[in-house]
């Protein structure tokens, strides 16, 4: 781009793209305050849906389960995915990339059914743990891809310099490599969290009796019409996600920016 100001077309395109991304979210939030069960038109302002949500133990338990699974899956798959990413970058193994990336390419329905059959074979009780394990399994690949891309753009001589100065391999990783790839690691973690929290298909098959996550609950409500209570719980989840990003950005201002 030249310095003579940006073209209005670019502005228009940018605004249209952002509108496409954010207007639906804004509508969800606005209608969570709508005083109508139907939610087809604006009737009036109310906090009723939030009040109702606070008393809806089903919905709260489902949201709690979703968060718990999302955070666990994101933490564990970030650690494992980062390790896989580093290993793939450094040692160029042949088999590992196939193993790590296969769960991304496999259709979800296949993965869900095969995991269920696997758990049943092991006589593993289906529940929060089986869902979390399944989510970790499909999240690892996404984290590994992001981390490996970050590593590919990193100057390898920095790690070598650290080693030359006498750092142990562990220290060189911890004090040089890890900080440099951290934006990739965080991006991977956030991606894993998002993927986990809205997964339906794999969760449906691996969840046990009594394990209800938010997507499972909302989906089962579609048949009897979704109330603005769903908007309310979505709004709260959005706030929480936003909060996570803001905290991450506060902790490290360079985190969400490319240098």
């Amino acid at each position: 781009m030249t310095a003579r100001g940006r073209s209005p077309w670019l502005w228009a395109a940018a605004i249209a793209a952002y509108a496409f991304l954010y207007v639906p979210l804004v509508i969800v939030v606005v209608y969570s305050f709508n005083d109508s069960r139907l939610n087809a038109e604006w009737v009036g302002f109310t906090l009723d849906w939030y009040r109702r949500l606070a008393n809806d133990s089903d919905m709260l338990a489902a949201a709690g389960n979703s968060l718990l699974i999302g955070i666990t899956a994101s933490l564990v798959s970030t650690v494992l995915g980062t390790m896989a990413g580093v290993a793939m970058h450094r040692y160029r193994p042949r088999l590992l990339p196939i193993l790590v990336f296969a769960p991304i390419a496999i259709p979800e329905i296949l993965m869900g059914v095969s995991l269920l059959i696997f758990f049943v074979l092991l006589n593993f009780t289906l529940g929060l743990v089986s869902v979390a394990l399944a989510h970790i399994a499909f999240c690892i690949g996404f984290v590994a891809i992001v981390v490996r891309a970050r590593l590919a753009g990193m100057d390898e001589s920095l790690t070598e310099a650290a080693r030359d100065c006498g750092a142990s391999p562990a220290n060189a990783f911890r004090y040089v490599t890890l900080p440099l790839i951290m934006p990739g690691v965080i991006a991977g973690a956030l991606m894993a969290f998002t993927l986990s929290i809205d997964d339906f298909v794999i969760t449906f098959f691996t969840a046990g009796a009594g394990t209800v996550t938010l997507p499972l609950l909302i989906y089962s409500m579609i048949k009897i019409s979704v109330t603005p209570e769903v908007n309310a719980v979505s709004t709260l989840l959005m706030l929480l996600t936003l909060l996570l990003i803001v905290i991450a950005a506060k902790l490290s201002p360079t985190l969400l920016r490319s240098e």
Binding site: A40, F205, A207, M221
Partner: protein
């Protein structure tokens, strides 16, 4: 750098959620696991049962019989009571997924209207007991339809262009090949379970001729569209149409959403309580089934969602305005014209899918 604090913060959050968000099961109270449709049992009924059995009812939901079948076929377990529709009951019996019901443990089965017992889906009710039901009928906006002078007691209003041209773009039909073919077959004077390919072709032609007049194939948001007043005439489920009217009254609309039972007959869907073969607590399951067959408990669901009720003892607890609805409580002459859908064979399903795809793709 402070990167290390991020995982730490996440871990702290995780602990916080673990401490508050997820209910930790209280000291070994008995649990009954109910795998059910969403909003398909009244909260007060659950509470009362929990009081009687000194146990907790834990519900998990499905939104489609096929979901339930797929999950159980893959070997999922941990559920005590399931509530599948009759044809799914048949599939579950065939798959060896159910435990026979000990009738001596459920004396309340005497309350069930004999018309709903001993059906071809489960002869002798060895495995299943009817829970609640719905019919697939005509729903309409009384103000608009009266204004236009259209009949509401015949499928012709959904399929005949003579009537449809007056309500063009204001009609929706269910996005379900089985339901729509059943309605078209009934309109043509055949059984909803007719499997003659020639009759299917006739039905497909009828549907294609009517399709340009319909606004959409819609199985999820037509309740809302009816209530708002965008759509005036639907092919839909009786409890959805009941719900649409309740919403319309609550929103202060001037019109009502009424039910029309076609004189040609309609599809009846009965959901049944069954016990899974791997039920952890078959004893509690039997107690629950017997409890739900009690008239008062059974009536609470009907009063909540306007579902049909096969329980004769429940009638005295049901709101009178519901009892008057022929689609919810069909009188004997209507009952005789209702049919439950049977499963199709693989070959039949292939033919129907092909016809359905052609219908969906046609203009």
């Amino acid at each position: 750098m402070t990167f290390r604090t991020i995982p730490a913060a996440l871990a702290a959050l995780l602990l916080a959620v673990a401490a508050t968000g997820v209910p930790v099961p209280a000291a070994a109270r008995d649990e009954l696991h109910l795998y059910n449709w969403n909003n398909y049992i009244a909260p007060e009924t659950i509470k009362r049962f929990e009081g009687v059995c000194q146990c907790d009812v834990v519900q998990t939901y499905y939104s489609d019989n096929e979901e339930l079948l797929a999950k159980l076929a893959a070997g999922a377990k941990g559920y005590d009571v399931l509530v599948p529709t009759s044809n799914a009951v048949q599939a579950l019996i065939r798959g060896g997924q159910l435990k026979p019901i000990d009738k001596t443990a459920i004396p309340n089965i005497k309350n069930v209207d004999p018309a709903y017992l001993n059906t071809p889906f489960d002869p002798g009710n060895q495995y299943s007991v009817p829970y609640a039901m719905s019919t697939t009928i005509i729903g309409y906006n009384d103000e608009k339809i009266k204004e236009l002078g259209l009949p509401t007691d015949t499928w012709a209003v959904i399929f005949d262009p003579k009537y449809l041209e007056k309500v063009k773009g204001r009609v929706t039909v269910l996005d379900s090949a089985n339901e729509l073919f059943a309605a078209a077959l009934k309109y043509l004077g055949y059984s909803a379970n007719d499997v003659d390919p020639k009759h299917w072709d006739e039905a497909a032609a009828t549907i294609r001729k009517a399709k340009p007049y319909w606004a959409a194939f819609n199985a999820s948001s037509y309740i809302k569209e009816l209530t708002v007043g965008n759509i005036w005439l639907v092919h839909g489920y009786s409890n959805d149409i009941f719900q649409a009217n309740q919403d319309a009254q609550a929103a202060g609309r001037k019109f009502h959403i009424l039910q029309g039972v076609p004189k040609e007959g309609a599809v009846l869907a009965v959901d049944n309580m069954v016990i899974h073969k791997a039920a952890p607590r078959p004893d509690l399951a039997l107690r629950f089934i017997n409890f739900m067959l009690d008239g008062r408990n059974s009536a609470e669901l009907t009063n909540l969602i306007g579902s049909g009720n096969p329980n004769a003892d429940a009638m005295k607890y049901i709101k009178p305005e519901l009892l008057k609805l022929p689609a919810v409580f069909p009188p004997k002459d209507v009952q005789a014209k209702l049919e439950q859908l049977k499963d199709l064979t693989v070959a039949q399903r292939r033919i129907r899918n092909k016809l359905w795809t052609e219908i969906k793709a046609s203009r």
